[in-house]
């Protein structure tokens, strides 16, 4: 079969957009697909007037990239679309379990940010944000801007770690950090380090949150709790295509190439690192895939910078042991199949766990619970099967008549 495109890019977040635009500017015929209705990914949500986000979205709109939104790449048939494939499938939030984490009103911090940007009204709502990393602050500042009462931002990392990290920031100006700085200045005493959520209480919905700080625990009345313990690369499609995955991220070489010929990976997929790392990796992948290695090489030092920055982020905001052991015996680990910690803890590997308890056999197919077991026990799903994301049975058929 002759491929209609030179390059297929999966995922229209920063990495995918940068890759698609760069490749099309090299003269390649480029297809960019994304399962969301609009390009931008989890982080860019259509703010066309704002700086770099607007620049890239405008460049994409003005380009000859063929954009297919609301389209999921679910299996190896994606390889038929183009001669080369650039995977930029991004990341999802890591949830860590604590008593009450499945109550309505508890969300991921990225999820809350997306909800607010989508018009969800937080005015006068009491909100607690807990977890780790600059995203907490960016979300808190957005929530406050929209009129929310941000009761507390609980950063579990300790202040010594944070000081070391902040001292290194002068080398890494960026929107995320600006947002975090802004948030910090607005929050004042509502920002606490060495502080974490222990549980959430409520009957039908969150009513209060129990927090711990400096050996003291207390209850904070709140109707929303947003937690952010970091991100997990979406490696399902890459793994399904046979790309080597190591420590939960797709392994790539200098040219962003994966272990499979003609398949590249860029962005959060290759290791969590934020927008800047994603953009530079997307550009390098596209340049390499279109034979412009010399130009790609000029971006290597940028990439090194952002990867170091990412490594610093991960070190600074890595969950402390206490945060990894908050779940009680009856705290659900697998939400789909309602499997509590007490049943999960007894198994030494993912396969045994799954076959004994059905953990990971529900709708999420281990995307949520498997990331939890990986964080808690060091193992998670390891046998990728199609579809890479849930899809109508119709989508498993060729696109001819039924």
């Amino acid at each position: 079969m002759s491929a209609p495109f030179d390059i297929t890019v999966v995922g229209a977040g920063p990495a995918g957009i940068a890759a698609a635009v760069t490749a099309v500017e090299s003269g390649a015929r480029v297809l960019l697909i994304d399962d969301n209705p609009r390009p931008g990914g989890q982080i860019w949500r259509g703010d066309w007037n704002s700086g770099r986000e607007g620049d890239w979205l405008n460049r994409l709109a003005a380009s000859h990239v063929q954009l297919e939104t609301s389209t999921a790449a679910i299996d190896e048939r994606i390889l038929d679309k183009g001669r080369k494939l650039i995977l930029a499938t991004g990341a999802r939030e890591l949830f860590l379990p604590f008593p009450g984490w499945t109550l309505p009103g508890v969300t991921g911090v990225g999820g809350l940010q997306a909800l607010i940007k989508g018009g969800f009204d937080v005015a006068n709502k009491r909100i607690v944000l807990a977890g780790s990393g600059p995203l907490l602050l960016a979300c808190a500042s957005l929530a406050r801007e929209k009129g929310a009462s941000v009761m507390l931002v609980a950063e579990q990392s300790d202040s010594a770690h944070l000081r070391g990290f902040t001292a290194s920031l002068w080398r890494h100006p960026g929107k995320l950090i600006e947002g975090a700085r802004l948030g910090l200045s607005l929050l004042g005493s509502a920002y606490k380090t060495n502080c974490w959520v222990e549980s959430a209480q409520g009957r039908e919905h969150v009513e209060s949150v129990q927090l711990r700080h400096a050996g003291r625990t207390w209850q904070e009345r709140s109707v929303l709790l947003a937690t952010g313990f970091g991100l997990v690369p979406n490696t399902e499609l890459a793994a399904l295509l046979g790309c080597h995955v190591e420590d939960g991220a797709v392994h790539v070489g200098d040219w962003q190439q994966t272990s499979r010929p003609s398949i590249y990976a860029a962005g959060e997929l290759t290791g969590i690192g934020g927008v800047d790392k994603s953009i530079v990796e997307g550009r390098i992948a596209a340049l390499a895939a279109t034979g412009r290695e010399a130009e790609a090489r000029t971006l290597f030092s940028d990439r090194t910078t952002w990867r170091e920055f990412a490594a610093g982020l991960l070190r600074t905001f890595a969950p402390r042991p206490e945060v990894l052991s908050l779940a009680a015996a009856n705290t659900p680990i697998c939400r789909c199949e309602d499997i509590p910690l007490s049943e999960v803890a007894a198994h030494g590997n993912w396969r045994d766990l799954k076959l004994a308890t059905r953990c990971g056999m529900g709708f999420c197919q281990g995307r949520i619970c498997g990331s939890i077991t990986r964080a808690l026990y060091g193992y998670g799903p390891n046998s990728p099967r199609p579809p890479a994301v849930p899809a109508p049975i119709q989508a498993l058929l060729e696109e001819r008549e039924l």
């Binding site: 299996d75 048939r77 199949e337 590997n349 396969r351 045994d352 076959l355 004994a356 308890t357 059905r358 529900g362 709708f363 197919q365 099967r385 199609p386 579809p387 849930p390 899809a391 109508p392 049975i393 119709q394 989508a395 498993l396 058929l397 060729e398 039924l402």
Partner: protein, 365 residues
């Protein structure tokens, strides 16, 4: 200390053998290189079904279901047993005649069954397409999550479980991949489709199947539904076939099958077969395309040249018994298979006359 019995394979069949042999007071060692119930046991649907392709097949499946009734009463909730019954669907009058024949067979053998006319069929399963000729329900058939059943049998038997890879199983000993030799009073090869890998000469070949599972749609279907053309398709000795066969999991997920490919040894999804299988299912369930699929997978059924399982002593290897070759009936037939092996080992009258399954029929000295 040397075990009395060494079983290779902790699938549902090996586990049932372990349970029954332990009841004889024997010291049982089970060797498995993967998870208990992790091979075809996990890949299959877990359908407990009375079949009537031959008297022997009926005896094996009916005896097994009676034993399963005793087991599931003792097993934990996680085994997800549901007596949902099997609905055999007749597409036309020829298949309706087959339904009637089955019905008569069941009546003559003391198995409950009920004929459905087209109106009753549509009331029973509203998502089936219109225009079908009718059906037959066997209300005492059921489904379960077989890995948990296998785990329970191993646990309850108190058999010793060794996680290791067996390189060869011969006569009364196993040679592990690391060279360790384990001797036993007798051995049981219950390694499913891998039985001939460790004991060359056993006439078992893989017959690959594919399955798709959906998100939860409680009530979408109520019975394990199988097309009546299933048996002629399933028992075609070679080649490829698909048949409409769907199952309502207890949690509302829908399992969609089935397909058969002879001699394929790899676990990759075969797109062509997957698609044929789904299109067949959609002919019967027109709303199926809108259901969200969450996972596709494959498994290797252990098939024999004559379609009958191998249960009993293996003359080529004195001291060895075979418990494999059940093809798609392994979950159902596991319990009676375990009992038969124990009957032979204890030298007591077998639970039924299972001469048809003795491996000696395949042995030519």
């Amino acid at each position: 200390m040397k075990p009395d019995v060494l079983i290779v394979g902790a699938g549902i069949v090996g586990s049932a053998c372990a349970w029954e042999l332990s009841q004889l007071g024997l010291r049982v060692l089970v060797i498995e290189d993967e998870a208990v119930g992790g091979g075809a046991t996990a890949a299959g649907m877990g359908h407990l079904v009375v079949l009537d392709g031959s008297e022997a097949e009926f005896e094996l499946s009916a005896a097994s279901l009676r034993l399963w009734d005793q087991f599931v009463a003792r097993m934990p909730e996680g085994v997800e047993y549901s007596r949902c019954g099997t609905l055999w669907v007749a597409a036309d009058q020829e298949e309706m005649a087959e339904a009637q024949r089955k019905h008569n067979f069941c009546a003559a053998h003391g198995v409950r069954s009920e004929m459905l006319d087209p109106v009753q069929l549509a009331e029973t399963e509203p998502n089936l397409c219109p225009g079908l000729a009718g059906g037959l329900v066997l209300p005492d058939d059921g489904i379960l999550f077989a890995p948990v059943a296998a785990q329970w049998m191993i646990r309850d038997s108190k058999a010793e479980l060794l996680r290791a890879t067996v390189a060869r199983l011969e006569g009364r000993r196993a040679i592990l991949a690391d060279g360790t030799v384990i001797e036993a009073g007798i051995t049981v090869n219950a390694a499913g489709a891998r039985a001939p890998h460790i004991t060359p000469g056993i006439p078992v070949t893989p017959r690959k199947g594919q399955l798709v599972i959906t998100d939860r749609y409680p009530g979408f279907i109520r019975h394990e539904i199988v097309e009546l053309g299933y048996l002629k398709l399933a028992h075609a000795a070679s080649g490829e076939s698909v048949a409409f066969n769907v199952q309502p999991r207890k949690n509302g997920q829908v399992l969609v099958g089935s397909s058969r490919q002879h001699g394929v040894k790899t676990h990759e999804i075969d797109r062509h077969m997957l698609e044929r299988m789904l299109r067949r299912a959609i002919e019967y369930l027109p709303a199926l395309p809108q259901l969200a699929a969450i996972r596709c997978w494959t498994g290797l059924r252990p098939a024999t040249p004559d379609g009958r399982a191998l249960v009993g002593p293996w003359p080529a290897q004195p001291g060895m018994y075979l418990a494999t070759g059940h093809e798609g009936l392994g979950i159902t037939a596991a319990t009676a298979t375990g009992r038969l092996i124990a009957d032979y080992v204890a030298n007591r009258p077998p639970i039924f006359d299972a001469t048809a399954f003795l491996p000696e029929r395949c042995f030519h000295a």
